[in-house]
Amino acid sequence: MKTKDVVIGITTAILLLVIAIAIILGGTGWTPLTEIRLLAKFYLENCFNLFDKNYWAASPEAVSAMLWDYRGIDTYYETAVFFLAVISGVALFRIAEVKVGAISSMRRELGLSIIVKTVTRIAFPLIITVSASVALHGHLTPGGGFQSGSMMAVAFLTAIAAFSRYFIEENLKLTKDNFLTLRSVGLITIAILALAPILAGSIALMQNQAKPWSSTPSFPEALGILWTAGSIFYYNLAEFLTVGAGFTLLFLLISIPEEEFRRILRL
């Protein structure tokens, strides 16, 4: 036992040392340039350039501008892939018509102990609030639709772990069909927002601000005093609904007890 520990320690130390020496000597191959490259310079100069609005995205956050404006179709396909994954999950669990209230008589005993339940009661609205703030500020500060949606799903995951899934279905009155509807609403919003410039006469899908080669009317940069960065705010909001509801739907489906499945399959 002792010699094994010593051997493991020495091996780890040698491994770390070798990696460190290799990195110092440049053995990992091509290293990125330290100066800013041309493409990065373009984004940095143009994404919130108030003086030259030819190529701007009206978003102070360069990453959101790239995700939903300059490289918008890439994110669109990403969302489509996620949509297909969730849809195939729902299709696999199609048999699961779980009767709500079948186990509700013993609901108090379900879930973890009272300490965890109390902390989850405090933390659940906090996580939801933070995820909403990350989504609504996605065009101003780091963050965005996918991150905030994942955070919302984590809130529901903690609720499922601490209270059991019947808490979400009975106390919050949110069934899997609600989440399916919410996710579809988000996806349809994204599709409408992506197609709106084409209908207005643009040549580019998902165009946010007018470009020199297609000067159709651009999305309004602000709603009154609320800066929305063109369409990026709405995209973030729709992606927040899509991803959050999609992940929560999968968690709800996964957390169906196996006995329920067996019972349904036997019927």
């Binding site: 300490i115 965890v116 109390t118």
Partner: protein, 124 residues
């Protein structure tokens, strides 16, 4: 007057960060050397509460004292304070859930001094 208070905040904050580093060290040693899961999770909690909450409170005090940050020090201070509070009430719940779950899953309490949970279960 304010400069004295600022100096005091700075030194208390630095002391808290040093205490946090020591707690992390103690927690790591305990995690390696303790005999079974339940005392190891105690050592891990020492690392979380002592090693994360104390330095964050210290960071709050240091951010108060940093006049050169201007307006932004309130952002740093409030951010680290809220993070500390949230860690303080979520980490114990997490470790409690782990310990309770593994006790119910019959993880052996090998060198057993006392096991009140088992006694309570046996009685009721």
């Amino acid at each position: 007057m304010w400069e004295v208070v600022n100096q005091l905040f700075l030194y208390i904050g630095m002391a808290l960060i040093v205490v946090g580093a020591l707690c992390d060290l103690i927690g790591a040693l305990g995690l390696l050397r303790f005999p079974n899961f339940f005392v190891r999770i105690h050592a891990a909690t020492v690392g979380v509460i002592g090693g994360a909450v104390y330095p964050l409170f210290g960071l709050t005090l240091i951010a108060f004292a940093c006049d050169f940050l201007g307006y932004w020090r309130w952002l740093f201070a409030s951010g680290s304070f809220i993070t500390a509070i949230i860690i303080m009430f979520t980490a114990p719940a997490g470790s409690h859930a782990l310990a309770r779950g593994s006790h119910r899953g019959r993880v052996p309490v090998e060198p057993k001094v006392c096991d009140f949970l088992e006694e309570d279960k046996g009685r009721s």
